[in-house]
Symmetry: D3
Subunit: 302 residues, 6 copies
Amino acid sequence: MPGEELRAAATSSPQLQPPPSPMDAAEDGGDEEAQVWDQIKAEAKRDAEAEPALASYLYSTILAHPSLERSLSFHLGNKLCSSTLLSTLLYDLFLDTFSNDPSLRSAAVADLIAARVRDPACVSFSHCLLNYKGFLACQAHRVAHKLWSQSRRALALALQSRVADVFAVDIHPAAKIGKAVLFDHATGVVVGETAVIGNNVSILHHVTLGGTGKFGGDRHPKIGDGVLIGAGATILGNVKIGEGAKIGAGSVVLIDVPPKTTAVGNPARLVGGKNKPRQHDEVPGESMDHTSFITEWSDYVI
Amino acid sequence: MPGEELRAAATSSPQLQPPPSPMDAAEDGGDEEAQVWDQIKAEAKRDAEAEPALASYLYSTILAHPSLERSLSFHLGNKLCSSTLLSTLLYDLFLDTFSNDPSLRSAAVADLIAARVRDPACVSFSHCLLNYKGFLACQAHRVAHKLWSQSRRALALALQSRVADVFAVDIHPAAKIGKAVLFDHATGVVVGETAVIGNNVSILHHVTLGGTGKFGGDRHPKIGDGVLIGAGATILGNVKIGEGAKIGAGSVVLIDVPPKTTAVGNPARLVGGKNKPRQHDEVPGESMDHTSFITEWSDYVI
Amino acid sequence: MPGEELRAAATSSPQLQPPPSPMDAAEDGGDEEAQVWDQIKAEAKRDAEAEPALASYLYSTILAHPSLERSLSFHLGNKLCSSTLLSTLLYDLFLDTFSNDPSLRSAAVADLIAARVRDPACVSFSHCLLNYKGFLACQAHRVAHKLWSQSRRALALALQSRVADVFAVDIHPAAKIGKAVLFDHATGVVVGETAVIGNNVSILHHVTLGGTGKFGGDRHPKIGDGVLIGAGATILGNVKIGEGAKIGAGSVVLIDVPPKTTAVGNPARLVGGKNKPRQHDEVPGESMDHTSFITEWSDYVI
Amino acid sequence: MPGEELRAAATSSPQLQPPPSPMDAAEDGGDEEAQVWDQIKAEAKRDAEAEPALASYLYSTILAHPSLERSLSFHLGNKLCSSTLLSTLLYDLFLDTFSNDPSLRSAAVADLIAARVRDPACVSFSHCLLNYKGFLACQAHRVAHKLWSQSRRALALALQSRVADVFAVDIHPAAKIGKAVLFDHATGVVVGETAVIGNNVSILHHVTLGGTGKFGGDRHPKIGDGVLIGAGATILGNVKIGEGAKIGAGSVVLIDVPPKTTAVGNPARLVGGKNKPRQHDEVPGESMDHTSFITEWSDYVI
Amino acid sequence: MPGEELRAAATSSPQLQPPPSPMDAAEDGGDEEAQVWDQIKAEAKRDAEAEPALASYLYSTILAHPSLERSLSFHLGNKLCSSTLLSTLLYDLFLDTFSNDPSLRSAAVADLIAARVRDPACVSFSHCLLNYKGFLACQAHRVAHKLWSQSRRALALALQSRVADVFAVDIHPAAKIGKAVLFDHATGVVVGETAVIGNNVSILHHVTLGGTGKFGGDRHPKIGDGVLIGAGATILGNVKIGEGAKIGAGSVVLIDVPPKTTAVGNPARLVGGKNKPRQHDEVPGESMDHTSFITEWSDYVI
Amino acid sequence: MPGEELRAAATSSPQLQPPPSPMDAAEDGGDEEAQVWDQIKAEAKRDAEAEPALASYLYSTILAHPSLERSLSFHLGNKLCSSTLLSTLLYDLFLDTFSNDPSLRSAAVADLIAARVRDPACVSFSHCLLNYKGFLACQAHRVAHKLWSQSRRALALALQSRVADVFAVDIHPAAKIGKAVLFDHATGVVVGETAVIGNNVSILHHVTLGGTGKFGGDRHPKIGDGVLIGAGATILGNVKIGEGAKIGAGSVVLIDVPPKTTAVGNPARLVGGKNKPRQHDEVPGESMDHTSFITEWSDYVI
């Protein structure tokens, strides 16, 4: 996302420098957060002016708020509330958690940048903040995970349930998720209790990181940094998907996948063969490069 | 759906001739629309009398309205509203769009007939209008697509997001969808920005028409007229699924599929082989013929 | 779930004996129901005391009610209501049906026990009652099925539609489902009109029990007792999955699967070969044993 | 209200005999209740047919219910619910109370007949049931009073508060109210803790039956049978308004008023003089005779 | 309200000529309406910019709408809706009625101007449109009256009931109300079935125009043009309050009041005496002159 | 309210000393606030245990909150929200204002104590906090007044309007109200823009502090400390009601009332005569002594 594009997207906003890569962004926290929040407000202001029918929504959800954490807490509270879990209660809960833990805020910012950089359909930060159920589910999960780590488990599980109902995204609150993670489309994603997802990962819809039976313990996949998991892939058991690996759409993965290799098929096999799998140089979770992937696949299939 | 069946389904309604095929139906517009709307009201009236617990719902959603477009706008407004996007605003938006574009109304009628003809579980037009999330998501998409084409993009994207939340159907507003299209069950369907879907297509749940990377441009599948796509199929990239082709359930398709052929498997291959694929005569999107398909598949597997 | 675990989970409750297996449980009805209800109240009381933010929800949904059927009816009424199908109407409908049919109540209890015993992430009965969309969708289906069997079809279909919207679980009201059934995660499950599911079955998310075409009649799978169906499996047509069979995640099954055998892959094949498939001794639907399954699979793949 | 009028009002209903006077009606309970309920349903059915825009409301509130107590409980539950006192909870509470105490039901029926007979603007029983805030506030009070008498005081006070918010009618749950009571228009009525209201009383809007200070004990008015209290009258302290007395609009009454006499003015005095007040023969609470009253008043004023 | 004041109130709006008197305004319809609507939008835009917390409300209620009738219909629909009378239904009803009857729109505009001119606390047109329950109740009444005149009585009475619940203003739909009427504060106003209110009338809160008994027929007050009725006044029976008369606060009026005279007290008497009442020159309903009134009163009292 | 009574009312709470008089209470701020909040929680806990049907309400509104200001903000937010003014927005607004202005909190505490001490029907602090519309309207007014003083007038007027709709209490945000004020029953109270209400005042329902015409400026009553205003009294114009004065129910007051005197009647006159009005020693706003008042009145009348 070069600077020109950003400027084109929100002409009325102060000019921004091209954003650093999402993971860097997460490091210097507050500045990045302020910059993105300014951009979001500029986008919302532009859209509210152009589209009166949407202005009320944009004001209530973004423009009425003094900070990203308030806007996000309001939006999540409204999305996830029910007749028995009131929006004010959820708003309070989200706001308290986001306010007290800057790492959750910087992770949210990194996720926003990740979506904006990696997804060509993501036309603006505000588009992601308002409309991406994967983004919203992930932020709600971060709060649920925080509650879980504070032994507030019943509340964490209630949040998980609301996210599963509203977004059809089912992430156990104990699961650990890194920064700059993109859940694209997100419908049907299931992530189990002992799963771990690294930084800079991109996961498409209908992906399962599932367990292997009725006994507890460490039983879910570990996803390394920079991994890309295609739509509908099912990864089961305490397997390790190495850094920068790529998992093909529709794959069923029951094996470890080495770093920077590609696994495809049902059951999944390594492209290039088990003993000497082909390696790539890119970071698939960032590059989202499906094109070469298709070639590889074709090679593999023939 | 022979005439007897229709008459049996709604004995209190004026006798209807057997409906023409959905695509013909779409041509002569108003008459077809009036006929289907009369049928819907007759069905709703019969059900309201038989089931007092449902009568309020049937009156508010169907019987209180003077036209299909009002009923549909009301129903979509109620389904898709949220605490920050009020039902009256959405109702207004849907009603304006349906009122001003007869092609959207005839497409809705063609979709209703398609569901009634092709899905044996679809017992009446009103059943589809009230209960089929695929039907409702598709009509909301048509409105979002119209808004997109008018450069009202923020509003179009907000609609897409509501449909994705409420129906778990995620169709980019830029995607082009023909008439007489059946999204059966529909949960988990994802259709990307540059995808095109022809007329008389039937698409089962969990189907993805996805992109191939982080760069924009034309990057999603083109689905020809009369295609049938089985449950859970994933089609990726700017590939062409020819007219009357059939895609097996659970397939992962990364290749062009010639007209009237069948692709199955993960990765998908053509039944009969790449060089001389077997051809069928029927229109799978209309015939929904999975039976012979099973035979073909078995042949292929063995 | 040994007795110690139960006691640990709810220290303030009267000590319970280790529960019998779910199916036995279903036999002696009332006692089991009372025991589980006592346990649920004890869990909710403990959680309400520990977590004031959740207390209101726990009181309104569990602790304010004198019986499981009232709590469940209230919870389903609130979850499934809409602006045109009011919570009071649904509450009345659920309560009447659960009150008049003890078999629905004992099935709900057996389902609760099944989740508690088989799913290591299910930390308490109340967690399942409150948060498991698969459990809630299944109980709503039982009521819809009852209505269907009383020829109250329009109402049954309206319920199906609400469940499909709210939980992304789409079960035709005519489908027959046994007791002690676990729908784990449940998002995206589709079960067709003539499908039959036996007792002690466990079904993961994204599973389809689908039909084969546009003609009515008996066209959906029959799932025997004790079957385990992995995530994303698609079973199509009037095929028979024998007692105690196991279906691998992501499989596409178009064939009969003999009792106590395993089918995997797309298209699915029997582990050990078509003619002499390997047989296991366990009841997969109860044991949830994915571990050995992975081994089998690896064997098969190589 | 002669029989012809009743028949004219609801031609599709079975012919009713002219209703006995409200108080007699209250005696033979069930029959009267069934007869009035049949009439209400006939009226609602007629209105639903004539006015599709109202049909949904009439079905959900009246026609979907098998009995008056269910319809009334549903209606009160919906009117009085809030985001923290859910409609299902209130519905349950009203239904339980009305079901278990036939005297509350016969009082409601007597109140309906009283409104129908005494108020020329009351065109039907269903009009009163649906629209008269005085009627609805009174029925909710009867339930609150029952709860109060069972020492469920916090719940009774919460109900009082909801009625005060929603209908602007503030009746302390300890106040005792007879049968066949008409609160006409009702806005602003305040009735204190130790007030007693007899049978066949008619009370207009803005009427206060208030106390006299900050000490507890018996400190509110006692209103005899058949009394009529005009709009805006304020009666303060433990005074006795005798049977069949009439209180002029806008009066401020701090004295006992003997039976069948009239008090008017601020401060109120007896028409005819303190020592030999004029007496009337009618029952003002039933006859609602303001005409002669005007004459009396004029006499008095001059 | 001189032009300067108007301009001061909304500096960003195009300069308006000082409005003609409300009744003149009502004559030339469309222009006045457009001018006031422009002013309302300018005010709302100014307030939305100054107060982000209110912007969402101002956009949804005013700025998202292309015309006053849509804004008003939306606002009334949201204010008056309930769980059984949906906002979309009411919106439709209001919009249809306002669209088809220009006299209702010009009456609304005249009422807005009346409030702005006569009430020093009315700081802007938008303040009245958004916040004056008397204004809103009156517009809803105009629609109910229209329905009543079309024999849609059940619907008219349902509207009356909603207005009585929500605004505590109870106006029978048959009552006739002129233009440029100000209901100030409005709580507790009751207007009976055969009452008539002229043009340029101002009525304070707690005012009753009531009937005289249980028999039908013409039994409520007739209020002439330009009348001012003080807070808490009760006028009973088919009496005539002459043009330009003034009724003191708290008065109880049972007699005809000649034009341009003043009635005060309980029971009310004419200032200056029955035979030669003092006459004033102003139009009290427009001048709202309570000051001289106090002097007169004092004279009268002494 | 002696200490024993307090202890009897909430046996499970820590023992409290008898509260000082409300005005003293307001002085030492935080301690008083903490003490009253502890008492409220103890009462709510006791009621929640005794009444499961109310527990959810008591937890969501009181027990889930760490402070009185949060509980009050939540309660007001839920009471006053609408479909276009969301509860989260109002909650935020109330919480910010109460948090930043301790004088608003101590005024609320003083009002709670005033209700508890003066109103024999006020059985507990929590009863007042939850159920007294006068208390709630007054606290919302304090926030609106704060906003008004910050020139956030549009928002202040929107709040006034919500309070007028929901509680039928219409207080202009510019009006100044002291501490330890009791609005008893409160329905129909109207307080104008330039009105001032002192400390320790008690005001019954239907009381108007109104203006005198269409011109701005200082035009509403000034109510001194310790005044008691009876139900339905109307006080008009910039008159001065002296400290400790008493205004009879139903009075219409257009004159200054000297300190510690009583005005009654329509038009109101001073008890004892204009030139040498009788004086009392008590503070009527605190003593609420209507008993001697009746005697005075009787004397006066005769």
